[in-house]
């Protein structure tokens, strides 16, 4: 493959890409404009990409609050107040998650301050730099602390007040902080709006859940939980939380990741960091190494009451009524009947710690007491990550609306995210569905679909020691796999430990949204049975996925050896594609839970089918990337507009001079200056008439080729104009079709034969084939059979002849040839002269350039002599070369010779040049003139016709060689 073909007079081909630098002023302006636009766009992108957000003013303060109600002791709370640009403004309390401190919510606080709120964050007692002990949102401890913080806010001038010591304040927080929001709203009437995220209703059900009840719960809401007593200990999560509080060091922070959102792009860099509640760093060994640690040190910063309850729970795996009572006192469930402020519950669909049943219960309880609740489910949670930027913005807007009354409520109805299939690039796709109301609370009861379950009664075994245990996920780390959808594939059910009941494949997509229920019949010999009920999505090829890694643990008392219970499965949102089936799996073990170690066998069967909740909703946004589509259309339209405008501008007024319609070539004031100061052609003017063979004569570098290129419209002159048959030449001027040309290099496609090259060239002109005169042109080239060979095999002379033949295709009226005889041998040169002269004799015009005087003299009728881009002489060759009566004499005494010649009758225009005397003899034979000179006693060395052309040319060449 030849990419670079060097041929002919290859002056400019420099095989290095040149950077296009605009040469004209307009070009530079345009380039500058483009650069400015690109820089502006880059700047805008930089600004919006969140790298340079406006700084937010903040003030750190340590506040002293009573260690307990009425106690003289003080607890020091480490706080930071973030101030918005405009004050006074409504305030927000922003508590952090469990195991973290106030620094974990810094970016969220800044975001809300930018939204316009005064934001107060603090490290809860027992966390970060705050002192005191962790009371798990004890109404007398943490919740009372928050009330003192409201007092603090009421004193700040930046905070808008509702009344004396009553600031306009909302509470927004996730998990531990979300529970505080609910508890504070129930306890302190100064709170005006709350938005608790991924938090619990009843901590006892969060840590020791039981999803089985003898009687079916009223399933009016989609994610109603059984919330039965005496549950199964969720030891993995509980352990993670306990260690986060027990270690004295600061925890690793709240939710490390963000949940996926509609339209979100893959960003693998954001997929780092821990999962949910914050697995803490290893306890720091700050105790004295030689001393045995006391058992009290396991409690870390927990209060003794909490520590004792946890220890009991973790060691026995059973919950005592006292612990239930304690946890209940610490739970929002104890105050939900007193919450009347606007409440936005945000709950995660990927949350094995606090599932959808928790917010469902909170919503039911607040509504029952007459409060107003709105709810959002999003594709995250303790496993799936915190709310993404879109949801955070929505929560901010909601708080702004409820604290200021400005605008409209951004949360209408009930919105829930549907996490679709995982995109191959890693991130899952998410779409948001909007329902008019949260079913069972605002409107009608939840719609439920009944699916028949197939499966006989099956025996399952709890192995001694409870191992190997089924794996349903890794608490807090489920999000690490990038998506809970993938981690759902990791579920393992050891053989013999699970019973399976499967539905028929669904024929159209079934969107499970909430807690399905199933009625089970369990028989066994133990006093009670601990079982784990899971709902799998089974694809047609048998792959099973556990949506949300969700497990419903049940403890069924087997009073008479058997029992029937209704199990409310964990709440999920999951599209079951057509062809897929649902499978209810009842397992005896689960790694994340505390299971009995004594062996047991159970007989499991289903009674009836599976009742699946669905929430009909309308998709909002997210489905189609409308913005991008509009932008694509916009760009295409803009490009079209530019193309149309240039096309219109291209159709410039056609400038023709009818008076010159028969004149093949007129050049007026032509100049070409290249950037860098090189002027190739300067103020050149000449005219060519039909039938002439004009020679453009000049040494190399005289500007001949540049002139010819300007005649072909290849180079734009800097000044002056060229008219061919009256029409001005510009790139692509139609009159160029009347010119046949050969300039510097033959220009053939090396992989084609000579003949095919000529035929394709003519085809490219689009003119009728019969006008080409192929045969005649090819015969002029005279290549014989070589014309069928590939051009790359040709000698330079052959290419040259073929190129001249190509120029003659269509018998153009003006033939422009640059150094046509270069590379030809003498007989060929002779033939070429004849071709050109006879071609001109047909009334057509030929312009040839040459640096050889003899060449021009023998070929041309007219000549233009150029040097350094300027015209030196022009006229008929005969006139210039041997002007009719003019003669030149080389003599010894020029003065005397001139006088003698003037004395001869009829002789005129005598002048002296060096040792030469020129004179117009006007018909007088040169011999007579010589005789007259000799008679006057002058010695004549040489006498001949005056050769002005040669003079001029030699003078030039002489100058050149100096």
């Amino acid at each position: 493959m030849t990419l670079c073909e060097f041929s002919g007079n290859f002056t400019y081909g420099f095989p290095v890409p040149r950077i296009p630098f605009p040469r004209t002023r307009r070009g530079r302006l345009l380039t500058a404009g483009v650069v400015v636009v690109i820089l502006a766009a880059a700047g805008a992108i930089w600004a919006t990409s969140g790298r340079g957000p406006t700084p937010v003013a903040s003030q750190d303060a340590v506040l002293d609050v009573p260690a307990a109600p009425g106690s003289p002791d003080q607890v020091r709370l480490d706080t930071t107040l973030y101030l918005p640009a405009r004050t006074p403004a409504p305030a927000l309390l922003l508590p952090h998650g469990f195991g973290a401190d106030k620094t974990s919510v810094t970016s969220e606080a800044q975001e809300l301050a930018r939204r316009g709120f005064v934001v107060l964050t603090w490290s809860a007692r027992g966390f970060g730099h705050s002192t005191g002990q962790i009371g798990l949102n004890d109404p007398n401890l943490e919740v009372a602390d928050a009330s003192r913080l409201i007092d603090f806010l009421a004193k700040r001038p930046e905070v808008r007040l509702d009344g004396p010591n009553d600031p306009r304040v909302g509470v927004v927080g996730a998990s531990y902080g979300g529970a505080l929001a609910l508890l504070l709203a129930g306890q302190d009437k100064r709170v005006d709006a709350i938005s608790p995220e991924i938090t619990y209703n009843d901590l006892a059900q969060g840590l020791v859940p039981n999803a089985a009840s003898a009687t079916a719960p009223a399933a009016t809401t989609p994610a109603v939980g059984a919330f039965a007593a005496d549950g199964v200990f969720k030891r993995s999560w509980a352990g993670i939380l306990f260690s986060a509080g027990a270690s004295s060091g600061s925890g690793s922070g709240g939710l490390g990741t963000e949940a996926p959102e509609p339209g979100q792009q893959t960003d693998d860099s954001a997929q780092s960091g821990g999962g949910g509640g914050g697995a803490a760093a290893a306890p720091q060994g700050d105790s004295a190494p030689r001393q045995l640690p006391s058992t009290g040190s396991v409690c870390g910063r927990f209060t003794a009451e909490i520590c004792q309850a946890y220890t009991e729970l973790a060691t026995t795996g059973r919950v005592t009524p006292a612990t239930v009572a304690l946890l209940r006192r610490l739970s929002p469930a104890s105050v939900t009947n007193r919450i009347s402020v606007p409440t936005l519950l945000v709950q995660g669909e990927a949350d094995t710690l606090f599932g959808l049943d928790q917010s469902d219960a909170t919503a039911r309880q607040i509504t029952a007491a007459g409060g107003k609740v709105q709810q959002i489910w999003y594709a995250g949670g303790h496993d799936g990550g915190g709310p993404g930027p879109q949801l955070r913005a929505k929560i901010g807007d909601w708080l702004w609306f409820h604290l200021t009354g400005e605008g409209a409520d951004p949360v209408t109805g009930f919105a829930y995210d549907v996490q679709g299939s995982l995109r191959a690039s890693g991130a899952p796709s998410v779409r948001i569905l909007n329902a008019p109301d949260y079913p069972g609370v605002g409107g009608a009861a939840t719609e439920r679909k009944a699916l028949a379950l197939q499966g006989q009664s099956q025996t399952v075994v709890n192995p001694p020691g409870g191992v190997p245990a089924a794996v349903s996920g890794i608490p807090g780390l489920n999000g690490l796999a990038g998506s809970s959808r993938v981690s759902g594939l990791f579920g393992i059910d050891p053989p013999g430990e699970s019973a399976r009941f499967t539905t028929a494949p669904v024929d159209s997509q079934l969107l499970v949204s909430g807690s399905s229920t199933v009625r089970l019949r369990v028989a066994g010999t133990t006093p009670d049975a601990v079982l784990f009920v899971k709902l799998y999505d089974v694809s047609p090829d048998g792959t099973r996925a556990l949506p949300g890694n969700a497990v419903a643990p049940i403890r069924v008392p087997l009073a008479g050896g058997a029992a029937e219970v209704t199990v409310t499965l964990a709440g999920i949102v999951r599209p079951i594609e057509s062809g897929h089936a649902l499978q209810v799996v009842v397992a005896t073990t689960d790694q994340a839970y505390s299971t009995p170690i004594s062996p047991a066998a159970y007989q499991i069967s289903v009674d009836g089918g599976l009742s699946v909740p669905v929430i009909p909703g309308r998709a909002v946004g997210g489905g189609w990337p409308l913005g991008n589509l509009l932008a694509i259309i916009g760009v295409l339209v803009a490009a079209l507009v530019v193309a149309v405008i240039t096309a219109i501008r291209r159709r410039r007024a056609h400038r023709a001079d009818p008076a010159l319609a028969t004149v093949p070539l007129v050049i007026e004031g032509l100049s070409k200056a290249y950037p860098g100061g090189v002027t190739a052609v300067r103020d050149l003017s000449f005219r060519v008439e039909p039938g002439q063979v004009l020679g453009l004569l000049g040494p190399n570098g005289a500007g001949k080729t540049t002139t010819l290129r300007m005649m072909m419209g290849l180079i734009t002159p800097t000044a002056g104009q060229i008219r061919v048959f009256g029409h001005e030449i510009h790139p692509g001027a139609p009159v160029l079709s009347r010119i046949g040309s050969f300039v510097e290099g033959s220009g053939f496609l090396p992989h084609l034969s000579g003949e095919l090259n000529l035929r394709l060239y003519w085809d490219a002109t689009g003119r009728p084939a019969e006008r080409a005169h192929f045969t005649e042109a090819l015969e002029i080239a005279g290549l014989g059979s070589a014309v069928h060979r590939k051009v790359r095999t040709y000698s330079q002379g052959m290419r040259q002849r073929l190129a001249i033949a190509q120029a003659m295709l269509g018998l153009p009226e003006l033939l422009v040839l640059d150094e046509p005889t270069n590379g030809l041998d003498p007989p060929q040169i002779h033939q070429m002269r004849e071709v050109l002269q006879r071609y001109a004799a047909t009334g057509r015009t030929v312009v040839v350039s040459s640096h050889l005087l003899a060449e021009v003299e023998q070929t041309c009728t007219h000549v233009v002599v150029m040097h350094r881009g300027q015209l030196v002489a022009s006229g008929e060759v005969g006139d210039l070369a041997a002007a009719g009566g003019e003669a030149t004499f080389r003599v010894d005494d020029t003065e005397a010779a001139a006088t003698a010649l003037r004395a001869v009758g009829g002789v005129s225009e005598v002048d002296i040049e060096g040792d030469l005397v020129h004179a117009d003899l006007d018909g007088l034979p040169r011999a007579d003139a010589v005789a007259a000179l000799v008679r006057a006693g002058i010695k004549v060395e040489q006498a001949g016709p005056r050769r002005r052309l040669e003079d001029a040319f030699l003078r030039l060449v002489g100058e050149e060689s100096k």
Partner: protein
């Protein structure tokens, strides 16, 4: 050797002058010779004939046809559990014909396809300049915007031919070796064979659109240099640089503005529930780059002095 058979027969000269004497040139109002119309110059068929006869074109198309066979051969030689239904794209390649096509597009998408497109487009103007034939085309005259347009269309057709040949041949090869099964995605989604054909078609269209920026950049470099190798190589270098930068996660969101960032977004199509976000972003990104480069190329070529 110069004289050998290479000479003009005097009779030929007589014929020529005879023809010239009898033929009167008719002229149109715009000064053009009768029969010349700017819109008929350098028609697509002519340009394609000029290009298709090039060994380069034939080699590229031949290689694209050969590639699926090479891949099959590689899978046959390295015998690892055939018809697997889980794992990455390479593991899934032998699961079915559609999966084989996906693999072929995937492995070719990073380097081969941009190179092919760069080769066809980088060559357009620069190779004519290097053969010195550009000036004769312009002196016909083919208007400059038309030269650029016709050559771009011809290169576009050749590029599309190559980009379509790859999945089509891969599909045929895949059908012969691995059968018409479901397309399996690494996430376990199974797409029925019929639907997967549609997915492959849409993917191919996306790949074609996504490579538009490569084409436009190559065109811009092609009008800026007389060395075809410079234009092709420069374009490929930019594509590689963009891919390298895309690997640097520290750049974060800035990587979204790299032209190759969305080059594999078509993989999103292999899902039951297609997310069009990245695909639309990829199309937008490519079209914006392509438009800017094409406009710059057109402007540069329209005002350039042709000195080759």
């Amino acid at each position: 050797m110069s004289g050998n058979g290479v000479h003009t027969d005097p009779a030929a000269l007589d014929e020529l002058t005879e023809a010239a004497r009898h033929e009167r040139t008719e002229v149109g109002a715009d000064g053009a010779v009768a029969g010349y119309q700017a819109s008929r110059t350098l028609r697509l068929g002519v340009e394609l004939r000029r290009q298709l006869r090039r060994r380069r074109t034939q080699l590229v198309l031949g290689f694209v046809v050969l590639l699926p066979f090479i891949l099959v051969f590689a899978f046959e030689v390295g015998q690892s559990g055939s018809n697997r239904r889980s794992g990455g794209f390479v593991d899934l390649a032998t699961a079915s014909a559609p999966n084989f096509v996906v693999l072929a597009l995937f492995v070719a998408g990073g380097f081969l396809l941009p190179t092919i497109v760069a080769l066809f487009f980088g060559d357009t103007i620069a190779s004519e300049a290097s053969w010195s034939s550009l000036k004769y085309l312009l002196a016909i005259p083919v208007p400059r915007h038309r030269v650029l347009r016709q050559k771009a269309i011809a290169s576009g057709l050749l590029s599309i031919l190559a980009l379509v040949l790859l999945p089509v041949v891969s599909l045929v090869v895949g059908l012969l070796w691995y059968g018409a099964g479901d397309a399996i995605s690494p996430t376990g989604d199974a797409i029925p064979f019929g639907q997967s054909l549609l997915v492959i078609a849409v993917s191919t269209v996306f790949v074609v659109i996504q490579l538009a920026w490569v084409a436009a950049l190559a065109l811009l470099l092609s009008v800026s240099t007389d060395a075809p190798l410079g234009a092709v190589g420069g374009t490929v270098l930019v594509a590689i640089l963009s891919q390298i930068l895309d690997q640097i996660t520290a750049l974060g969101g800035l990587r979204d503005y790299l032209p190759t960032h969305y080059s594999t977004a078509w993989i999103d199509l292999i899902a039951n529930d297609i997310d069009w976000t990245n695909i639309a972003a990829g199309v937008l990104s490519s079209i914006v780059y392509a438009t800017v480069f094409v406009l710059l190329a057109a402007r540069r070529f329209a005002t350039k002095d042709i000195t080759s």
